[in-house]
Symmetry: C2
Subunit: 137 residues, 2 copies
Amino acid sequence: MPSLPHAIAEERLAHARIGRLATVTPTGRPHIVPVCFALDGRRIVTAVDAKPKATTELARLENVRATGRASLLVDHYEDDWSELWWVRVDGVAAVIDSDRAIDALASKYEQYRATRPAGPVIVIEPERWRSWIPSGA
Amino acid sequence: MPSLPHAIAEERLAHARIGRLATVTPTGRPHIVPVCFALDGRRIVTAVDAKPKATTELARLENVRATGRASLLVDHYEDDWSELWWVRVDGVAAVIDSDRAIDALASKYEQYRATRPAGPVIVIEPERWRSWIPSGA
């Protein structure tokens, strides 16, 4: 499968403004939400922020606590399919409190500098990086 | 949680060019890939197409066969966070062969009219539609 060199995959992921966080519920069902995120060293971090959420949206926290795993996907779409790409990280995840993680998020997003997220952080320790580009790209 | 009226959520999902498909592996891990998809009546359909994939990328088919469930997310990001939105469908999923589903995909994507997907189709029967918009949007 055609893929990106790791350094480029990591750079594209680091610069993506939005990712999609996939987790698994305690009953084994898929769960997916868009998230703002940042790289903090080799880890990926995302915070529960001030954007309004249903109580059930904190499903993401329950899922990570129950399963210890998460995947984050960033992708690029154009109607010219030769320009498609995606990067995914699968890893071990945990819910933590981390000022350092919030600092990484605030460094990336001005909104987090204006309103520092109070919530806990989901941290993903990557076990596997995967990427995809079309053949010939 | 602020959300979209169902008709608008369905319209936004129907017109999104790309979605993210979340499934669960037979061993209970999250899996997520970007997919082209279409609405076919009330069902959501996505096909294994000619874009090159690793054998393991067909994990999505194995996952659906093993678990019978999938979620599809579409979202919109802008640096102006008052413009964010997402729509998600969680449902029962199956791997089928369906000319009608391929027709729905070909109707949406010119690439599928030029090169009709040969592969099997994942069909999601929605059990729950969820959407999100910022407060005050």
